[in-house]
């Protein structure tokens, strides 16, 4: 993985692929049919977005789209750990959906100004579609945060748990300096994290869920484990990812501290990942080259 553009593309594509896979697990299980369609449709969109990003990655990597999406070992995936967490209940699903989609919106807006032409073209189209995901996430944010006591409590609890891992969406990429230098990545992860925190901080304060942000004020140490032999070159990143804490300064929420250690962007995943990987890639691994 010498080309840092490939690192960026795989981070983006793997987030969408794994998020789409998780959301697709709701198909048939959501309590009412309109929401089942919505969740399934969003899952389908995310898979399509992953495919469009893998198509660009394939031109750099040489492997085809299916091999990139489904033919890699577990520790070659670069998705943020938040994407691989099980859906649990609808409170957690909705909290993660809101956090992920607001973060994705910040990231895509930044990438619209990239010098990487093929990526900019895809990003332009993805943003037109992600708008609907953002609307959907906001509907649930409002419904659960202002809902009956149990809904609000469960949503706040889920948000507290998801927030630190959502911050790790902006974990620095290996080769990020090079991506910034040539304008492929117009803004650093740290910089985008600041924008995102200010946005969600305002949203959470508006519905009186500041306590969620307090819970993110202590830096979080992940419980991540390497997913395979450990042969990957983890250098000084052998420690688990430590996500910076939060502090309220001059009326908005900022991150206090820096990322250290390694998480999903370096291929270090949670112990929830191997089972997801087994299922997601099982058919491909059993029947390589099969066609419909």
């Amino acid at each position: 993985m010498s080309d840092p553009r490939l690192t960026l593309l795989l981070a983006l594509a793997d987030d969408e692929l794994v998020m789409g896979h998780r959301l697709s697990e709701w198909t048939g299980w959501v309590p009412y049919v309109e929401e089942d369609l919505a969740m399934s449709s969003i899952a389908q969109d995310e898979m399509g977005h992953a495919r469009a990003l893998f198509e660009i990655a394939a031109t750099i990597d040489g492997r085809d789209v299916d091999a990139l999406a489904l033919g890699r070992d577990a520790d070659e995936y670069r998705n943020a750990v938040i994407c691989e967490r099980p859906n649990r209940d609808y409170a957690y699903t909705a909290a993660r959906h809101y956090l992920y989609d607001t973060a994705d919106a910040v990231r895509l807006e930044a990438l619209q100004a990239s010098t990487f032409k093929e990526l900019v073209e895809v990003v332009g189209v993805l943003r037109l579609e992600e708008r609907y995901h953002g609307d959907h996430a906001r509907v649930w944010f409002e419904r659960l945060s202002t809902g009956p006591v149990e809904a609000r409590q469960r949503f706040a609890g889920a948000m507290s748990e998801a927030l630190p891992e959502a911050m790790a969406i902006f974990e620095p990429l290996s080769g990020e300096d090079a991506l910034l230098a040539d304008g492929t990545l117009p803004r650093s992860g740290e910089d985008m994290l600041a924008t995102w925190l200010a946005t969600i901080g305002t949203d959470l304060e508006a519905v009186g869920l500041d306590a969620v942000l307090e819970s993110g004020s202590e830096p979080t140490v992940g419980e991540m484990v390497p997913t395979s032999s450990g042969a990957s070159e983890l250098t000084d990143d052998a420690r688990p990812l430590r996500v910076p804490g939060l502090a309220r300064r001059d009326g908005s929420w900022v991150h206090a501290g820096e990322f250290s250690g390694a998480g999903g962007r370096q291929g270090r995943h949670s112990d929830d990942f191997p089972a997801l990987w087994e299922e997601m890639t099982g058919l491909y691994r059993a029947h390589r080259g099969a066609t419909w």
Binding site: L37, S41, I42, Q44, D45, E121, G124, Y132
Partner: protein
């Protein structure tokens, strides 16, 4: 000769239907961005409606087959591009009429608010949106309070 072939290719394309809305030609949905005819090849450039649309591969194969029938010995290449982005404004009046006949309300021209969209069954504008997500990535679910039928609307994009 080349000009004639281009006309024949366009005609062939106008017979390629969207597999999920089989009354709509891909030319009327605005999927065809470019046709280039050279001495040894025909290149057709398409735009995906929604990136996650599962019909994209089927549309490409149908397009290749239809163009090959008129292209003779020339190579036929069909590719999707993302620039310019496909938007609902690319659906022409014939496409809009075909959508209506299929029970799908076309999107209003953007950036007009997507309210009071006429019911494709009775024409009433007393309709509401039930869900922005429907049975395919490109459709929404709406409801007509006049004839009391649920109906699908094309999801506005652009």
């Amino acid at each position: 000769m080349v000009a004639t072939l281009e006309t024949m290719v366009l005609e062939a394309l106008s017979r390629v239907m969207d597999p999920e809305i089989p009354v709509c030609a891909i030319t009327d949905l605005g999927l065809v961005e470019r046709v280039e005819v050279t001495d040894d090849a025909v290149d057709v450039t398409l735009l995906p409606t929604f990136v996650g649309c599962p019909a994209l591969d089927a549309i490409r194969e149908d397009t290749e087959r239809a163009v090959q029938e008129v292209a003779g010995d020339r190579d036929v290449r069909v590719a999707y591009v993302y620039d310019p982005p496909w938007t609902t404004d690319r659906v022409n009046e014939r496409g809009r009429e075909a959508l209506r006949s299929f029970g799908i309300a076309p999107a209003q021209p953007l950036p007009v608010l997507q309210i009071a969209i006429p019911c494709p069954h009775c024409g009433s504008r007393a309709t509401t949106i039930e869900s922005e997500f429907g049975p395919t990535p490109c459709r929404t679910v709406r409801y007509c309070t006049s004839c009391r039928n649920p109906f699908e609307g094309f999801k506005p994009k652009g």
